[in-house]
Structures are given as structure tokens and as C-alpha cells.
Amino acid sequence: MEFSPNTLELLYIVILSVLLGIEVISNVPAILHTPLMSGANAIHGVVIIGAIIVMGHAKSDDYVALTLGFLAVLLGTLNVVGGFVVTNRMLEMFKKKK
């Protein structure tokens, strides 16, 4: 990828996402800091998509790439699944107010 108009397009996404992130988080009560951090933690597990791409396009005789790719997909899945499940467990407890 060269630094091109396309890159600038990506920069739009970056800037808008930064502002959105700030906007979305402001005014969060302290009580929710932990679940929110945990939820955000699960969302950055989106890095697993990169791992799938790397693994999916690795040459079948390139064992270094295959091994590392396998590891990356595994760790990424841990991040995604573990992150969402832990967050859900935390929030489940808030819900139980009878």
C-alpha cells in the first residue's frame, strides 16, 4: 500500500472513529467502568480478522507462517470469546436486581 488518496480515505475513518470513541465513552458512571473496559477489550479482538487473513493466505508449505498463523487465530479467538463471555457474566449480575 502506497501513501495515496486511498490512505487519506482511511484517515477519515480513523479521525471519525477517534471522535466517536471519545463521544461514546464520555458520561459513563464509574460503576460501569469495569464492564465497559471488558467490553472494549472484547471488541479489539477484531484483530482476529487479520489473523484469519494471514493464515488463510499462507502458502501450504510455509510451516513458519502456518504455525504462527494458527497461533494468532487461536489467541485472537481467546480474546474475542473470553472477552465477550466475561463481560456478559459481569453484566448478568447487574441485571439481577429483583
Binding site: A30, P35, S38, G56, G69, F70, V73, N79, M93
Partner: protein
């Protein structure tokens, strides 16, 4: 529809659910749905990638068996870990999963460097790959250390020298990065990879090492936003919008959250990172002023005092969680309420190990949500509270934060329990709190100590109450 459109559509859905999910996570009523929504979006983006992604030469995703195998293992292990972890160990768990994400980002960069010839690539592209590697690695090694420290497997190392070593390491990382990217002829690609990998790992370790226990949540939040940024660099690398939005969103939201947490503790981020809870010696020395007496109280007296009080406030801390005493504490409080005593829980924003951690723990024990009162609302009412019962809290009720400028926690807002009529402290021993500082509250004329394991003591108290 062409597969490219389906792929982009799945990414669009993913991005939108991340934004909405995060927004919903920041209010109590919608939080759970927000989390599930983001999870669903993630699933769609992953499925979209597996079935519709094509590289620049039009090859579809291969090695599917291996991908599914890795995902299956990751799902089973991740699910079991997340379901089995005790609520008290939640902060470590978050830190662990965060580290896995960081490692994932770093490995992507390594494979990318390994599998393709980059001699013709632009410095811009190389910069992105290496930044993904560096930030991912720092996040990984830092999270592992944070995990170890919260799990009390790794001890703090306090040294002024570390601050300088860290600055030097950081300079080295950027130096090597600069040379590698802008003058690739001077350094071999392998050499650059190993150097950056080693330096970043070391930096992550040493950066978290000196940070005091009470500041750990801030560090986890910061590392969380690092991993977000690492994921975003992956998005740049593959021109992948969902990785970019997801990563950046977490990166910026995580940074703001970190700042908010610092504000809750009245500390600046820089203060947390550089001026870590240092000078353990001077802090410990501050408490030993002359011969201070500790007043003990018996179980029976405590029970009577509480039963005939009109207003009781319970201040829970991490000690309550460690003793697994949240359920019996709820029982104790229920008994008092039945007697017509007005009871509430005074929750310090950083009680437990993370902001909001205590709320999660008490919610687990079915304590009604309205009984949890935040610090700002508790403090004005303390002078007309008859009894304050402190269960396993320490630093968050330390008067030194108000009146001892030499104390490391000076300036942190605390629950001013000493303004109440009587303070009863349930504590195992006279040991210092998590931040490692003495607490003069224990010697305060209004304070009475009730030594013992929190769960044990509360169980006996409930028994005493039933006898009255």
C-alpha cells in the same frame, strides 16, 4: 451479489454494531444487550472474512481446516476460562485476554514480514507493520506482567532508575524503528525484527513492573487501548475497515476511560506512569508516630451497637471479596434492615481492584442495586451515621489522603468514615493495605477493631444478631 460486496457489508455491520455496542455498554440498562450486539457483529465480520475475503490476486481464504481448528480450541478454552474465573479475579482475566489480543496483533506483523518480500514496499507500509509489531508486543508483555501482579505472583519493583531505563528503552525502540523503516539498507530485516521484538517485550515488562497495585486498573485500561491501536494498524495493513474502526474505537475510548479512571482517583496519567507509587520506605515510615493504641471490640458489642443504631453504613473493600464474604454480608445487612435500621453500602469508585468491581461483586450476592451508594452521596451523610462497618477496605478510608501531604495517596478522594459516630473495622490483622501504606484510621479515637476473617466474623455477627 458479488462476494466483495458481501464482505464489505459484513464489515459495515460489524463496525456499526461495535459503535452501538460500546454506546449501549455505557449505560446500565442497555449494557448487556450492547455487549451481545457487538459480539454478534464480530461473528458476522469473522464469517464474512472466512467466506468472502480474497487477496489481491483473487485467492480465497485457504487452510480452512486449520483456521477452524484454531478457532474451536480458542472458543472452548476462552469460554471455559471466562465462565470459571471467580468474580474477584476478573481484573486479571481481562488483562489476560487483552494480552492475547496484543500477541495476536504482533504475530500478524511477524508473519507478514516473514512471508512477503518487502524490499519494494513503501516506508509508510513498513512503518505500519512494525508499529503493529511493537504496540502488540508491548501490550502482550505488559498485560502478562499486570496479570501476574494482580494475581500476586509478581511483586512490585520500585526503583527510580527504572524510569530512566524505560525512557532509554523507548528511545531505542524508536531509534531502531526509524533506521529500519527509512534506511532499510543499514540493517537486515531479521535483525530488525528480533531487535524490535526483544526491546518491545522488555519495555512492556519494565513499564508495568514499578506501577503500584492501586494503579493497576489504569494500566490495564491503557494496555487495552494499546491493543486497540495495534488492531487498527492491522486494519491499515490490510485496508480492512472493520479492524480499523474496531481498533481505533477501542483505542480512543480506552484512552478516555483511562483518563476518567485517573480522575476518579484524583491522579494524572503521567503521575501514574512515571511517578509510580514510589518511595515505599517513606510511606511506611509516616504511620509510626509514637505509641498509638488500638481499641478492640467484641462481637456481642458490635451486634448490639448495630442493632440499636438508626443508620449503618457498610464500606466494602477487596478484603470482603477475598474472604468471599459478600453473601454473608448481605445476610447481615438484611437482618439489620428487618430491625428497622437504615443500611447502605458506601462504594468508593475504586473499591476492589477496578472501578466498579465492588458493584459487580455485591450484585453477585443479590444486594439490591439501590442500596449501593456512591462515595459523593455518602460523604455528606456520614456525620449523622451511627455506625460505619468497614469490611476489608483500607486505602479508600485512609485519612492520610486528606491530611498527610507526604502520603502517596494524598489527594485521592476517600470515604470520610471518621466523621461518623463510631467506626468498626473488620480486619484480619494490622497489615497495611494494597497500596502498602499505614492507615491512621485504625488508631482513631472513634475506631474499634474487630479482628478475624471477614466471612467468619460476619457469620458470627449474624448469629449474635439473631440472639438479640
Amino acid at each position: 451479489m458479488s462476494s466483495e460486496i458481501l464482505l464489505q457489508l459484513s464489515y459495515l455491520i460489524g463496525s456499526i454494531t461495535f459503535i452501538l455496542g460500546l454506546k449501549m455498554l455505557s449505560s446500565a440498562d442497555s449494557a448487556r444487550r450492547g455487549n451481545l450486539l457487538a459480539a454478534a457483529g464480530m461473528g458476522i465480520a469473522i464469517v464474512g472474512t472466512i467466506f468472502f475475503h480474497k487477496d489481491s490476486e483473487g485467492h480465497a481464504i485457504g487452510n480452512l481446516i486449520w483456521i477452524f481448528a484454531a478457532m474451536l480450541i480458542g472458543t472452548v478454552v476462552g469460554y471455559l476460562m471466562a465462565m470459571r474465573v471467580k468474580m474477584t479475579a476478573m481484573p486479571q482475566m481481562v488483562s489476560f485476554f487483552n494480552g492475547m489480543g496484543g500477541a495476536c496483533a504482533a504475530i500478524i506483523s511477524i508473519v507478514e514480514l516473514h512471508s512477503h518480500d518487502h524490499s519494494q514496499a513503501s516506508p509508510w507500509y513498513m512503518l505500519i507493520i512494525y508499529l503493529g509489531l511493537i504496540i502488540g508486543t508491548v501490550s502482550f508483555s505488559g498485560s502478562v506482567i499486570a496479570y501476574g501482579k494482580l494475581d500476586e505472583k509478581i511483586k512490585d519493583i520500585n526503583s527510580k532508575a527504572l524510569t530512566y531505563i524505560n525512557l532509554l528503552l523507548l528511545a531505542l525502540v524508536f531509534g531502531v524503528l526509524g533506521v529500519t523503516v527509512f534506511s532499510p539498507a543499514t540493517i537486515s530485516a531479521d535483525m530488525a525484527l528480533w531487535l524490535l521484538l526483544g526491546l518491545s517485550t522488555l519495555y512492556g515488562v519494565l513499564f508495568v513492573m514499578p506501577i503500584g497495585g492501586a494503579d493497576m486498573p489504569v494500566v490495564i485500561s491503557l494496555l487495552n487501548s494499546f491493543t486497540g491501536m495495534a488492531a487498527a494498524f492491522g486494519g491499515f495493513m490490510y485496508n480492512n475497515p472493520v479492524m480499523l474502526t474496531g481498533g481505533i474505537l477501542v483505542g480512543s475510548a480506552g484512552t478516555i476511560l483511562t483518563v476518567l479512571m485517573c480522575t476518579a482517583m484524583n491522579r494524572s496519567l503521567l503521575n501514574v506512569i512515571i511517578g509510580s507509587f514510589g518511595g515505599g520506605g517513606s510511606a511506611a515510615g509516616g504511620g509510626a508516630k509514637g505509641d498509638q493504641t488500638v481499641r478492640e471490640i467484641t462481637l456481642t458489642d458490635t451486634a448490639i451497637l448495630c442493632a440499636y443504631a438508626s443508620k449503618v453504613s457498610i464500606v466494602p473493600g477487596y478484603g470482603l471479596a477475598v474472604a468471599q464474604a459478600q453473601h454473608i454480608c448481605h445476610e447481615f445487612e438484611k437482618n439489620l434492615v428487618e430491625r428497622g435500621v437504615e443500611v447502605n453500602y458506601a462504594i468508593h469508585p475504586v473499591a476492589g481492584r477496578m472501578p466498579g468491581h465492588m458493584n459487580v461483586l455485591l450484585a453477585e450476592a443479590d444486594v439490591p442495586y439501590p442500596m449501593l451508594v456512591e462515595m459523593e452521596d455518602v460523604n455528606p451523610n456520614l456525620p449523622n451515621t451511627d455506625v460505619v462497618i468497614i469490611v476489608g477496605a483500607n486505602d479508600v478510608v485512609n485519612p492520610a489522603a486528606e491530611n498527610d501531604p507526604s502520603s502517596p495517596i494524598y489527594g485521592m478522594p476517600v470515604i470520610k468514615v471518621w466523621e461518623a459516630k463510631t467506626v468498626i473495622v473488620l480486619k484480619r490483622s494490622m497489615r497495611a493495605g494494597y497500596a502498602g501504606i499505614e492507615n491512621e484510621l485504625f488508631f482513631h479515637p472513634k475506631t474499634k477493631m474487630l479482628f478475624g476473617d471477614a466471612k467468619d466474623t460476619l457469620t458470627k455477627l449474624v448469629g449474635e444478631l439473631k440472639g438479640i
